[in-house]
Symmetry: C2
Subunit: 152 residues, 2 copies
């Protein structure tokens, strides 16, 4: 049984999942802390999506930690398929949320001061960047697992 680096149960996968958990949490925190994000649809959407991505990636971090450091778990095609579909759906939602946030932030920056007081816009930008990074890592995980699937 060949081992694909980045597929479930490898240390590369653990690194990808840790990255997803860190970036999605950072994106949520940059957007939430002290900002009335619910006045903008795009920002509420980002917060909702990150609320799904964070528990998903933390669960998979725990599975990977167990698999790497304690005991290699057996791979079952059905479970791996479910993980691939979950990753794919969440990565598409993250991409949509990140690009919505980025474009709305760009528009607010154009309008200027009344909507961007106290460096709020740079926080929106940071949040969008973190969401893009989280999307990229989820998508990479999904592709690596998809590559692994036929050999099971």
């Amino acid at each position: 049984m060949e081992e694909v680096p980045g597929a479930m149960g490898t240390s590369a996968s653990l690194a990808l999942r840790l990255g997803q958990a860190i970036f999605s949490t950072a994106s949520l925190l940059f957007m939430c802390l002290g900002i009335d994000f619910y006045s903008y649809t795009a920002f509420s959407y980002l917060v909702t999506v990150m609320g799904f991505v964070i528990p998903w990636s933390i669960t998979l971090v725990l599975v990977d930690v167990y698999s790497v450091f304690v005991k290699c778990l057996p791979h079952q095609p059905r479970i791996l398929s479910a993980i691939i579909i979950g990753d794919l759906v969440l990565s598409l939602l993250s991409l949509a949320a990140a690009s919505s946030t980025a474009s709305v932030t760009d528009l607010l920056l154009d309008v200027g001061t009344p909507y961007c007081r106290a460096n709020f816009c740079s926080r929106y930008q940071l949040s969008a960047v973190m969401a893009f990074l989280s999307w990229f890592l989820s998508f990479a995980s999904s592709l690596f697992n998809l590559w692994r699937l036929p050999s099971l």
Copy 2:
């Protein structure tokens, strides 16, 4: 050699490609005709992406028409891989463009009259919907071809 419905050279694929070509052209026309779309980054981005999607999908419509009605072309794994990667990249770009456009339009609708004169905002909305449909069909094509790839 099994035939996957929706993979290159089938009539389902031709229908998907036709849908992509129609929806992406509609999205471009709703956005461009008589509107200063270049004052907004998100709208310029949508127009740029649709400028790539339209020739791509029209080329593949022609290939599929030839393959369905004239002579079944042989499938080569390399060409199919290139088509899958192209579809995947363009579908991700379309999704990002569609969600950016949708969120900016939502913000403009909130602000109201000065930015939404002469039903411009409903045209932006229609353009975003068409871009979402084009994304969905590109992504479906990409997945069907990916499913077909291992059997080559």
